[in-house]
């Protein structure tokens, strides 16, 4: 069974989805257990896969669906799934996050989208299938298919939200389709020039036939990057994201916000390193000069827009856009440490964003709003929830020993060694904005002061709220446990970051990235 672990990552959620669709009509209550169980199976498959990758001598495990394995040159035919450290780590994050959100989703789904458990969990599981597939596929066209699987299910999941979700989804559909079309065009060019769609195969042909100077390949690279940038909501292509995630149901935004943008960063790393190769991607183009400046603009603008929000959930959606800037920057400063930072930030950002969105979901359920006005007294009401929420917040700020500190550390180091000072300054700026954002929340939750700065109540911490708003009333355990688990994961990944960074370093070593010698 273990040698099929890669396949199990897909089989479990895929058949779970089918099962949900079948039983969803008659017995809605079965859908949640089915989703949790199938994701537990996928999680087991994911852990098993990572173990096998670590155990293998080449640090790589391939799996050919249906046994199609064409060794002929150029590698072309066959559905290859390849797990190396990068893919396996991100896949594990995807499955792990999905598992926690599945547990968490029981109450929000029942309350926000009543009687739609069947369709919801069907789409939910298909979404996970698509995202996990993106991380593992070894084929550039299959990657497109899986991106679309994830995107289409995502549209459905978001559209289930509030009345305004439909309009937001429409926005997302248009931009998402444009992005996917760019990607597909790029893959078309690549296929024309190389005659293969296998990722390693493309790289082999580029090296063997000296395609580095080919204009068609350059165009293909630009199209693919552009498509991926739109899909990951890189500023200024971010317009679809805030509204889509804000109006989506709680369970949906908790699943999509931590994963979708991060998986797209993974695609960018995969394309630059594995498919096109380091020399092609970073030496021959103007991009390495231009993109860091775009990143600076992206980070500064997104952080500033986050500052202007008066709603926690909306604010978080802009934070995601800023974080995308961090990771794209880590790639394009083109430095060994920058790549470590980017890859580690994919993992840590997924965990901390999950933590924050789970917390916001609980706030929404208790207070019926996520607006800043409704936050007062939440520490007293739900100390554990808010504690977990703020672990996520501290991680976004980058306070040790949360994982956010370590990813930021590597990103800063990468920027410094590549002598990209503008990138460093942008990181510092955004760090300060995050400090303001989260301590502004703490102030509103903790202090007895109105928005305009007047004292309320009779002093001595009197919050002047009816007792029903402040008495101890923790979230339901199905929501609280995933939140606390994700908060502890944020801490554990931070404390034991060395083990993960070692794996990332093993993955990056063969690519011979510049390490910087500056003084």
């Amino acid at each position: 069974m273990s040698e099929n672990s890669i396949a199990l990552i897909f089989v479990f959620p895929l058949f779970g989805a089918v099962l949900c669709a079948l039983v969803g009509r008659k017995s809605r209550n079965l859908c949640h257990p089915i989703a949790v169980a199938s994701l537990a199976g996928a999680l087991w498959g994911g852990i098993e896969t990572l173990r096998r990758v670590i155990a293998s001598e080449t640090n790589e495990v391939s799996y050919y669906f249906g046994g199609w394995n064409a060794d002929a040159y150029p590698r072309g035919v066959g559905i290859e799934f390849r797990a190396d450290y990068l893919g396996a780590l991100i896949m594990l994050v995807v499955v792990g996050v999905a598992f926690l959100v599945a547990i968490y989703s029981k109450l929000p789904v029942a309350e926000e989208t009543p009687e739609k458990e069947g369709p919801f969990y069907t789409l939910f599981l298909l979404q996970v299938t698509g995202l996990a597939g993106i991380c593992l596929t070894g084929d550039a066209f299959n990657l497109y298919v899986l991106i679309e699987v994830a995107a289409l299910t995502g549209y459905g999941l978001i559209a289930m939200g509030s009345a305004r979700a439909a309009a937001a989804t429409f926005n997302y559909v248009i931009l998402g389709t444009i992005g996917a079309s760019f990607y597909l065009l790029g893959v078309g060019y690549v296929y024309m020039k190389t005659g293969t769609l296998n990722m390693v195969g493309i790289q082999e042909v580029i090296t063997a036939n000296g395609l580095a100077d080919s204009a068609a390949m350059q165009v293909a690279f630009v199209f693919i990057c552009l498509g991926v940038l739109i899909k990951m909501a890189f500023f200024p292509f971010h317009a679809w994201l805030p509204n889509a995630y804000f109006h989506a149901p709680t369970a949906t935004s908790s699943l999509l916000a931590p994963l979708v943008t991060k998986v797209m960063i993974y695609v960018m790393i995969r394309m630059t390193l594995t498919v096109f190769g380091v020399d092609f991607s970073f030496e021959n183009t103007l991009w390495t000069e231009v993109i860091p400046w775009l990143v600076v603009i992206a980070i500064v603008c997104a952080a500033t827009m986050a500052l202007a929000q008066r709603d926690v959930k909306k604010m978080l959606t802009y934070l995601i856009v800023a974080e995308v800037g961090y990771m794209v920057g880590g790639i394009w400063v083109y430095n060994y440490y920058g790549f470590i930072g980017s890859i580690f930030h994919i993992i840590s950002d997924a965990c901390m964003t999950l933590c924050l969105f789970l917390g916001v979901g609980i706030i929404l359920r208790k207070r019926r709003t996520t607006h800043f006005d409704g936050l007062r007294g939440l520490f007293r009401k739900m100390p554990f929830t808010m504690g977990g929420f703020f672990v996520g917040g501290f991680s976004i700020i980058g306070l040790p020993p949360t994982c956010g500190f370590f990813s930021k550390w590597y990103l800063i180091t990468g920027g410094m060694l590549a002598e990209r000072w503008e990138y460093m300054v942008a990181l510092m700026f955004s760090t300060m904005v995050m400090v303001v954002l989260f301590f502004r929340l703490i102030e509103r939750i903790h202090l007895a002061v109105t928005e305009s700065g007047e004292n309320i109540g009779h002093g001595h911490g009197d919050l002047a709220l009816p007792e029903s708003e402040t008495f101890f009333d923790e979230a339901h355990w199905t929501m609280l446990v995933p939140l606390l688990l994700s908060a502890s994961v944020v801490l554990v990944i931070g404390i034991f970051n060395q083990d993960i960074v070692n794996l990332i370093q093993d993955f990056l070593e063969p690519f011979d990235l510049p390490k910087g010698t500056g003084r």
């Binding site: 440490y337 306070l399 800063i412 002061v449 700065g453 001595h460």
Partner: protein, 495 residues
């Protein structure tokens, strides 16, 4: 420092760091309903911590360092706790004074019927854990961890009142501390990590350093500036104004954290960087290192002048603290053995003196509700113990024998003379004079200016609760004690 100290592996540093955290769990569990039990846990944790720290003294005096390896953070940079002379002095001061403060806090918080006392004691414990961690850190990264932990865990204490002023104080507090630590300190750390032997030696305090070989003079000065201002808890101007604003906190917080633990963490980190990352030989040879001496001297003089004009007693004491922190930084910047030792010892001396003054200010507030210097007339008759202790604390801060403050100032002067900085000696003398001007009138007014006023309404005024008076008397006596037992401190500081 001894050239090649013997390393002893021992778990006691970890116990000292984790004791307050265990206590926090117990405190939170006890809660408001079992408040006597809760206070017992606080006192118990203080006693355990202090005895563990003090039990390390003989080992360290014999020339050993005690280490405990917690976990590996980065390749080559572990999370490592190490006890050496400097760290032990600071840890001992903080943990012993924690016991006094805990007792004092009981009297103060109950006397004023403060709200949310469980939260207060819990975060107090967390802060102490972070302070111990800083004292026992063996490399820059470990120290940074605990430094940030301290910034965040003291925020709920500063904003304890939860009102408008608390919000303002808390905002200033955090924006200064986090801005400097995230925007100045973090790049400096990163810089050291990647450009010095790839993190092999530079992060560790014992490793010996290769600063002068690796960096040009200008780079070293930039690094020095980043570190000195990055540790803004040291209160060096112009990053000092968080400290007066943090005085909105309840007095036990001002006493232990903003006269002892937090600010001393700042100067302690500065000393570490100067003497163990750069090294005093490197600094003496470094062109432009005098800039740091100037900054420290300017801080001393300016803050003393500002203190003269403050009517709010706690704010006056806060500016006095900034000036005294300037002494410690000055000792480090002098880059001589005696100067550094003077700085380390001054941490202990000033801690004892200044905590006494804050305890007195709090006791006055509990007993009479007064917080301005101009209101204190005639109080000495009603509160003889408190005002007596205030006088002793003032004299110690001013630096008169036979009080502790004299010893450290003496070594600072010696250090300045060793570098031929006569003008620094002048600065020290002028500053002592200013100390006299802004501290002595408080006590003098309380004792002598009674005849003109005949305030009938205050006939019932008497001393604060015994839980307040006993600790402040003890720390006042401690100021004498530190003078007579200063040889132990000096030998721990490497003289």
């Amino acid at each position: 420092m001894v050239a090649e100290p013997t390393v002893v592996n021992d778990v006691r540093p970890l116990i000292a760091v984790l004791t307050p955290m265990v206590a926090v769990v117990a405190i939170a569990w006890s809660g408001e309903k079992r408040k006597n039990l809760r206070e017992i846990f606080t006192l118990l944790a203080g006693l355990v911590q202090a005895s563990v720290v003090l039990s390390l003294t003989p080992l360290v005096l014999a020339g050993n360092v005690v280490e405990f390896h917690v976990w590996q953070i980065f390749t080559n940079v572990p999370m490592l706790l190490r006890v050496d002379g400097f760290g032990l002095i600071f840890a001992a001061v903080a943990s012993v004074l924690w016991i006094a403060t805990s007792l004092y806090a009981i009297g103060y918080m109950r006397g004023l019927h403060e709200h949310a006392q469980t939260r207060f004691y819990s975060f107090f414990g967390v802060s102490l854990c972070a302070t111990m961690g800083v004292a026992f850190s063996a490399n820059l990264l470990t120290i940074y961890f605990f430094y940030e932990m301290l910034s965040v865990s003291t925020y709920p204490l500063v904003t304890h009142m939860q009102d408008k002023e608390a919000r303002k104080g808390g905002r200033t507090y955090l924006s200064y501390l986090l801005f400097t630590s995230l925007c100045l300190l973090l790049p400096a750390l990163s810089w050291c990590y990647v450009w010095l032997d790839n993190g092999q030696g530079a992060m560790d305090f014992l490793a010996g350093n290769s600063m002068s070989e690796q960096f040009s003079d200008t780079t070293q000065i930039v690094l020095l500036l980043l570190f000195t201002f990055g540790f803004a808890k040291a209160g060096l101007m112009p990053f000092h104004s968080w400290l007066p604003n943090a005085m909105v906190a309840p007095t036990p917080v001002s006493a232990l954290l903003h006269a002892v633990a937090v600010v001393k963490v700042g100067v302690f980190c500065v000393i570490r960087v100067y003497s163990d990352i750069f090294g005093i030989e490197v600094l003496q040879a470094l062109d432009g290192e005098q800039i740091m001496v100037w900054i420290a001297c300017a801080t001393i003089i300016i803050s003393s002048l500002i203190a003269l004009s403050q009517d709010n007693l706690k704010r006056r004491l806060a500016f006095s603290t900034i000036g005294q922190l300037g002494y410690v930084v000055l000792g480090a910047t002098l880059a001589t053995k005696q100067g550094t030792a003077g700085a380390v010892v001054h941490i202990a001396m000033h801690a004892c003196g200044k905590i006494t003054l804050f305890f007195c200010a709090g006791a006055i507030l509990v007993a009479s509700g007064k917080k301005y210097v101009s209101e204190l007339r005639g109080l000495g008759r009603k509160m003889p113990f408190t005002m007596g202790a205030f006088l002793i604390g003032s004299l110690s801060v001013i630096g008169l024998p036979p009080l502790g403050g004299f010893v450290s100032k003496w070594y600072l002067v010696l250090g300045a003379l060793e570098r031929d900085y006569v003008w620094v000696v002048v600065v020290l003398l002028v500053s002592s004079l200013l100390n006299v001007f802004y501290l002595l009138p408080v006590a003098v007014r309380a004792f002598f200016r009674n005849e003109n006023d005949n305030e009938e309404g205050e006939g019932g005024l008497k001393e604060a609760p015994w839980q307040c008076v006993v600790p402040l008397s003890c720390t006042a006596l401690g100021c004498f004690g530190l003078f007579f037992f200063s040889d132990v401190l000096l030998s721990l500081a490497g003289l």
